[in-house]
Symmetry: C2
Subunit: 141 residues, 2 copies
């Protein structure tokens, strides 16, 4: 899936720097990537890329809601480009993350329960932890 990164940056009032474009493209290629993965891939394209620049940009892009952070048990947070709401399959062994679309009933059920508790629900995170096919096949338990 191709993303018009430059347009996205302008929409959010951020200057279009080659570093930012590279970082967003790196995340987009991975689908879901942690800071180190982003840094490594971005560095391959843009040699002078600094780790501090990756941190700073990822943080501000999350605040601007252009990136979404996935806080995972046992692994460093992964980041993805914000798109339609969806859920994730997370492998406990290798940490891989895959998108899935959970039915909308859940969102509704969740929103209803939240309001009963007088809680203003804003977004729902669903992560299914388990083992991916590759890890099961390789007997990595």
């Amino acid at each position: 899936m191709k993303i018009d990164v430059i347009k996205k940056l302008k929409e959010h009032g951020l200057k279009v720097t080659p570093q930012r474009v590279t970082i967003l493209n790196a995340i987009n290629e991975y689908g879901h990537a942690n800071i180190d993965e982003i840094y490594q891939k971005a560095k391959a394209t843009h040699y002078s890329m600094s780790l501090a620049t990756v941190y700073k940009n990822v943080t501000s892009l999350v605040e601007l809601n252009l990136l979404k952070e996935l806080s995972l048990n046992s692994f460093k947070s992964k980041y993805e480009i914000v798109k339609e709401p969806h859920s994730h399959l997370v492998c406990k062994k290798c940490g891989s993350v895959e998108d899935i679309e959970l039915s909308q009933e859940i969102e509704q059920n969740a929103a209803a329960l939240a309001s009963i508790k007088d809680f203003e629900a804003q977004d729902i995170e669903v992560e299914i932890y388990g083992l991916c096919r590759e890890c099961r096949e390789q007997g990595r338990v």
Copy 2:
């Protein structure tokens, strides 16, 4: 809710030390607590408690599935005593965590979707992020 901590420890083959008992009681009182909260409360009961001891015990208790870790966006992980599966309301402002019981449809829906992707689902995490009543009332946006 009272928990028989000593019994739990023995069941999991861990030695019953006053530090462990204190740590588990601290978590139980909070319901959901991060490392620092556990440390502070435990220290109040057991003066010589070391932060390293809290880290070591929490880590091993999570591995033994006696504690569950909640990895949250923007806040340090919180820990809770493992009980029946349930979901959480997480306030983006104050970080408070409250239990809710989502319908079982979700578990089933999730398990079904996971198997389609050839993924062996083990446990599901649902966090609803938003604003708690207290934070809304105090106009903390």
